[in-house]
């Protein structure tokens, strides 16, 4: 496997960097687009590596997907469109920030619920009351 990936990644990198001539990461129109592409790469999980984002991973597939993100950003796609595209292709697992849904409601609600619960408990245990009711 590893042997296969090395030439593959080289090919992809070469395609990405030379055959497209004018296109390389630094050629993206404007620093905003570059930052956007990097941010998106940070939000997606590399399908090959164990728990690394696309941005960090050096796997062949990660290079390919990063190139894909750069291309899509250059085409004028926005963040949501690119994330949706990637999710469609690689499943929900590729997103490091899961979408809010019924299945992730607990995940997103937990911090607030925990804090409110513990805060109310603290108020109750200390016998605190608003000034007017005292």
């Amino acid at each position: 496997m590893k042997l296969l990936f090395l030439p593959l990644s080289l090919v992809i990198a070469l395609v990405f960097f030379s055959s497209q001539g004018t296109f390389a990461a630094q050629d993206l129109a404007g620093p905003e687009k570059l930052t956007l592409a990097m941010d998106i790469a940070r939000e997606l999980r590399c399908p090959m590596a164990t728990n690394q984002s696309l941005f960090e991973s050096e796997n062949a597939i990660a290079s390919e997907l990063k190139a894909q993100i750069y291309l899509m950003v250059n085409e004028g796609k926005n963040r949501e469109q690119i994330l949706d595209f990637m999710t469609q292709r690689y499943g929900e697992q590729i997103r490091y920030q899961p979408k809010l849904g019924i299945n992730t409601a607990l995940l997103w609600g937990a911090p607030l619920l925990l804090f409110l619960g513990l805060a109310l408990l603290s108020l109750k245990l200390t016998g605190w009351r608003p000034a007017r009711m005292r």
Partner: protein, 651 residues
């Protein structure tokens, strides 16, 4: 023969711990013979500690003598490894690290506990650890008869000074968590009325400070190591392994604040006592749970250097064996019977709210780590929960925590209002001129840091400034928050192809820095050969600031490729260059970045550690300095000055 000796010592240690634990129980049920039995129990515990340390020494000896018939040595060492790493490889993986953990626990238990039932309870915990090691993670297993002529290498990522510093620090932190748990169990066992109980509470405070000190150190060093070594320039990735160390730290931080409130008639407030008990149990539970998650390979981690599914279950059993009796005793002692007696004054609400914030942060991180697992178990499919999620929930919680942290130091509401306005306007002014990545996060981070700094500054001018070391720790937190905010909001970077005599200018917070790739060199070392880029860093005016030497290393023993970043550390920013794949004959994919204030993160961590050390030393210093040589407070009656345990108690 050597390995069998180690194996024997391991078994001996477990048997002796069992004996010592049983003697403790016998002493409890036969009070008449208690002094005699307790003496015996202590002698056995000492013998046990010697066997644990002996077993560890034997394993180290196996590493030093390259005994590849021992599977653990063959898998994690080879003849070419430097001596220091051979010794450090001892805790480089699952089996050895558990042995290291248990041996330190045995040693520290004897040092810190000189009375029952703490000593006996620690022996029971050691029996649990010993059984886990013996049955599922025995480091003395032989590879017979097919002894390999050469061992596999230690994972190249681990061959770094970080391996020598970070894991021992973290494991000592875990050991203190175990001791804290034992102390809490002893307190629960003895009930609420005993005189010994008060000494127990005091000792819990000392142990918590120690534990917090080492956990802080472990987390700070871990983050520093990842930043320098893993080659992706991140300092915190919210990886399960990181979370496994971070959750206990958060809980211990909350726990530490249980000891802040003034005592009532020399007794701690019952409410805080219950909170401390529950937090200790949770922190200890999370530490074992984290080890289980990480070691079983049940969650995917980038730092998992030691995982296999069957190991997990034994740790899970140990966890259950500890938590069930602990929670049962907690329910019996704290949830019942607290109502009667004179009503005690409640602890400050602010303190509880602050602890609530930290505890919710810890539990949120725990939930986020476990969530993909639960999601999949329920058949809902695979999801990932990573850095973007954790950042978006953690930043507001840190903001709330900072609000609570600073609140107390201001003398009046008027001061608070002024500080709040300042802590909003100052960051807003700065943000107006320096566009951050995310306005909201930046404002939260900066205002939190400003609020804490203002709180500190008002104390300089206040006549009755109190709690120097707590303030130092809070200052450390402010500095860490500032560092984290700056590096995540104002990092500028570029990923590009570079070869000899190409360059790139990056501007960071108003200054321009030019990176010029000068040449590519080959580097040969004992362990790897590497390609090294030599990159010159030029400042605004074209003057050379530094040289940077990123490397791409190929390890000789196992062919693994690693990227070693070239970093120049500075007070105001770090320059970070890492070298990616080779693109053609002489160009490489290079990542350049300027990271403002990143070193403040660890500086803040260092201040927190300093504060912990200072508050541990303070009572000793005060005792030394007071003219009569008398200790400031009367400590428990049977304190013997020569004993290290009592020295710890003075703290």
């Amino acid at each position: 023969m050597l390995a069998e000796t180690g194996h024997f010592l391991l078994i001996l240690a477990i048997v002796v711990a069992l004996g010592s634990g049983c003697l403790m129980l016998a002493a409890h049920w036969q009070p008449g013979r208690a002094p005699y039995l307790e003496r015996q129990s202590r002698a056995l515990a000492l013998l046990g500690a010697c066997s644990w340390l002996g077993a560890m020494a034997v394993l180290a000896l196996c590493f030093i003598t390259d005994d590849f018939s021992v599977a653990y040595v063959a898998n994690h060492s080879n003849t070419a490894l430097p001596l220091l790493f051979k010794v450090a490889a001892l805790w480089g993986s699952h089996e050895g690290s558990l042995l290291f953990w248990a041996a330190l626990l045995a040693l520290f238990a004897v040092l810190f506990f000189n009375t029952e039932p703490t000593l006996g309870l620690s022996q029971w915990l050691l029996v649990g650890f010993g059984l886990v090691i013996l049955l599922s993670a025995n480091p003395f297993m032989r590879l017979l008869p097919g002894v390999p002529p050469e061992g596999r290498d230690l994972n190249p990522v681990l061959q770094d000074i970080g391996l020598i510093l970070h894991p021992p620090m973290l494991f000592i932190g875990y050991v203190f968590l175990c001791l804290m748990f034992v102390q809490v169990m002893a307190n629960l066992w003895q009930g609420n009325t005993d005189k010994a109980h008060q000494a127990g509470e005091r000792r819990l405070r000392t142990l918590t400070l120690f534990g917090w000190l080492f956990l802080t150190g472990g987390n700070v060093l871990g983050s520093w190591w990842a930043y320098n070594e893993l080659g992706w320039g991140g300092w915190w990735f919210w990886d399960p392994v990181e979370n496994a160390a971070f959750i206990p730290w958060l809980l211990t931080t909350a726990l530490l604040h249980c000891f802040v409130a003034p005592t009532v008639n020399g007794k701690p407030q019952p409410l805080l006592q219950s909170a401390a008990t529950l937090l200790t149990i949770t922190a200890f539970g999370c530490c074992l749970l984290g080890s289980f998650l990480v070691r079983s390979g049940i969650v995917q981690s980038v730092h998992a250097f030691a995982s296999s599914p069957e190991r997990g279950i034994s740790l899970l059993l140990l966890l259950a064996g500890c938590l069930v009796p602990a929670l049962y005793l907690f329910a019996v002692r704290h949830l019942k019977g607290d109502g009667q007696g004179a009503p005690t004054p409640a602890p400050p609400l602010l303190l509880l709210l602050g602890m609530a914030v930290i505890a919710s942060a810890a539990l949120t991180v725990l939930l986020g780590t476990l969530y993909p697992l639960l999601h999949e178990l329920l058949g809902l499919g695979k999801i990932s929960v990573g850095a973007p999620y954790f950042n978006s929930v953690f930043v507001p919680l840190v903001w709330l925590a900072a609000l609570a942290m600073g609140w107390r130091w201001f003398a009046s509401h008027q001061q608070r209002l002024q500080a709040a306005i300042g802590a909003l306007l100052l960051p807003l002014g700065w943000l107006y001129f320096n566009q951050p990545d995310s306005m909201l996060y930046a404002l939260m981070g900066l205002s939190a840091a400003c609020w804490l700094l203002f709180a500190e500054v008002t104390q300089w001018f206040s006549s009755n400034s109190r709690r120097r070391w707590a303030r130092l720790a809070h200052l450390g937190a402010a500095i860490s928050i500032l560092g984290a905010t700056f590096v995540s909001q104002y990092e500028t970077e570029a990923v590009l192809r570079m070869g000899p005599d190409t360059g790139k200018t990056i501007s960071s917070l108003g200054s321009d820095y030019s990176f010029v790739y000068r040449e590519t060199a080959r580097v040969e070392t004992r362990a790897f050969h590497a390609i090294e880029g030599r990159i010159e860093l030029l400042g605004d005016d074209g003057m050379r600031l530094h040289w940077l030497y990123p490397q791409r290393q190929s390890f000789k023993s196992n062919g693994m490729e690693m990227s070693q970043a070239g970093i120049v550390h500075g007070v105001w920013q770090d320059f970070y260059v890492s070298m990616g794949q080779k693109l053609d004959d002489n160009t490489y994919l290079i990542r350049l970045s300027v990271k403002p204030l990143v070193s403040w993160l660890w500086l803040g961590g260092g201040l927190m550690m300093l504060a912990a050390i200072a508050s541990l030393l303070q009572p000793l210093l005060r005792a030394r300095l007071s003219p009569t040589g008398q200790r400031p407070q009367k400590l428990d009656d049977n304190a013997k000055p020569a004993n290290p345990a009592t020295a710890a108690e003075v703290l």
